[in-house]
């Protein structure tokens, strides 16, 4: 927060790199494996970083990253550059795949709300208490701080923890309907704070 140099996406990716990801993805759609390798080299640290954030386990994170890139290869033809950037398309897929794994894995049974309250408490601490660690981007961090506490906790648990709204409901001891509303309000607030789509 103090003297950190902001490392927002603009700084990391740059517009030139972003446009080339789109181009690479379109070449991948034609079966171009060298374009795929180039796309991998440019994007794998982001994909792997997000997967690891959610899964924590290194071996599982590698497996899921492999699944994600094979899905990118398989479905590249469905990417429509008119609907958004390549990185956005890939990170959306990344989050979904990582969450799928969280739910499917043994860990998710450990996290079952009926038997894993203590684990939840620990996970809650690691996810919620560490905004500083969790979010590298000063811009996103600042936007998160504009949410109400409940909105912020709910969004963090869902996005960075991969918890379902039911789990979030148990962890925060609020009704499911309230969680859904907080998730929506929180994301709308974030959208507006970050100027997404404007």
């Amino acid at each position: 927060m103090l003297a950190l140099v902001p490392r927002d996406l603009e700084g990391v990716d740059g517009s030139a790199a972003l446009s080339s990801n789109e181009e690479l993805l379109q070449r991948v759609a034609t079966g171009d494996r060298s374009a795929f390798a180039e796309l991998y080299d440019g994007t794998a640290p982001r994909v792997f970083g997000l997967v690891k954030r959610l899964l924590r386990d290194h071996a599982q994170s590698e497996e899921v990253t492999q699944e994600i890139f094979l899905e990118i290869w398989q479905t590249a033809a469905r990417y429509d550059p008119n609907k958004g950037g390549a990185m956005a398309w890939m990170l959306t897929m990344t989050h979904r795949r990582a969450v799928d794994r969280v739910r499917a894995s043994q860990a998710s049974r450990d996290r079952d709300v009926r038997i894993g309250i203590r684990d939840h408490a620990a996970a809650f601490d690691s996810v919620v208490e560490n905004v500083e660690v969790l979010i590298e981007s000063e811009r996103v961090k600042a936007a998160m701080m504009r949410l109400t506490e409940l909105q912020r906790q709910a969004v963090q648990l869902a996005y960075f923890g991969g918890y379902s709204h039911r789990e979030v409901s148990a962890m925060l001891s609020v009704p499911i309907g309230t969680v859904k509303t907080r998730l929506r309000d929180g994301m709308i607030r974030l959208r507006d704070e970050l100027g997404v789509g404007s």
Binding site: D32, G84, D192
Partner: protein, 264 residues
């Protein structure tokens, strides 16, 4: 800023983009999305916002071994609905020029190649999907009848009960994957990452057996991956070879093979 229960999107849009809904809830919400432009618009904005959260996570370099596994993996993974894209770097196949047919096989080759339009390049994606697809049917979108014919020929070989394949390195760079069916007596080769040859040179395919080499067609590098169906019959025990020959091809190899694939 607070959500209104009468909003078309309902309360689920946030949980939806955060992948926090159950499968049943996802299905319900997507039905809502299908019928509501307002809901779709909201979800688009919130999904982009979720991406911002993803971008805020510190990148972590994955191990090099993972890269190798993934790149190996794509070689045997089919692609869904490949679509045609402009292939600006690919020149048209020669429709005339210094072609010197030297025998019946080459005359067949000549006719085939001479009539091949530039759009055949587009067969690449579909054919690549087929050949790399491990026999999985691919819903290929193919443009150009010739391209479609090439892809479907490769598809037939691929689909044969006795279809086999082998991948070898090309000594001058790139890889070649041969698929063949003894019962169909046909084979096709997928080349990836090979060099474009200087003027006056072409790649030529051969069926090789103990009695010598039979020409099986020529091709030029166009695009990063291309599929070529060999002309002539594959005989049991044949080996397929690739050489670099003068434009138009040779009646028998004049250079050492840059790739050799035994089918026995």
């Amino acid at each position: 800023m607070s959500s209104n229960p009468s909003d078309e999107a309902g309360p689920d849009s946030g949980a939806y983009v955060l992948h926090a809904l159950s499968d049943a809830e996802i299905a319900r919400f997507e039905a809502v999305l299908a019928g509501s432009e307002e809901a779709r618009s909201e979800v688009t904005g919130l999904a982009d916002t979720a991406v911002e959260l993803g971008l805020s996570v510190e990148p972590v370099a994955p191990p090099a071994a993972l890269r190798a596994r993934i790149l190996d993996g794509v070689a045997t993974t089919p692609q869904l609905e490949p679509v045609a894209v402009p292939v600006a770097s690919a020149g048209p196949e020669p429709t005339s020029g210094p072609w010197r047919p030297a025998g019946p096989v080459e005359q067949r080759v000549h006719r085939r190649w001479a009539s091949r339009p530039v759009s055949a390049v587009i067969a690449v994606a579909a054919a690549a999907a087929l050949i790399f697809g491990g026999g999985i049917a691919v819903n290929a979108v193919i443009q150009g009848q010739q391209a479609s014919a090439t892809a479907s020929q490769i598809g037939r070989i691929q689909a044969a009960a006795d279809s086999r394949r082998a991948t070898v390195a090309v000594s001058t760079g790139g890889t070649a994957t041969l698929i063949w069916s003894a019962s169909l007596k046909r084979s096709a080769i997928m080349v990836h990452g090979i060099d474009a040859l200087p003027g006056g040179k072409t790649y030529e395919l051969w069926y090789l057996d103990t009695s010598g080499a039979t020409p099986a067609g020529t091709f030029d590098a166009s695009g990063s991956t291309q599929g070529i169906v060999l002309t002539g019959d594959l005989k049991p025990g044949d080996t397929v070879g690739v050489t670099i020959e003068p434009t138009g091809g040779s009646a028998s190899p004049t250079t050492a093979p840059i790739a050799i694939v035994p089918t026995a």
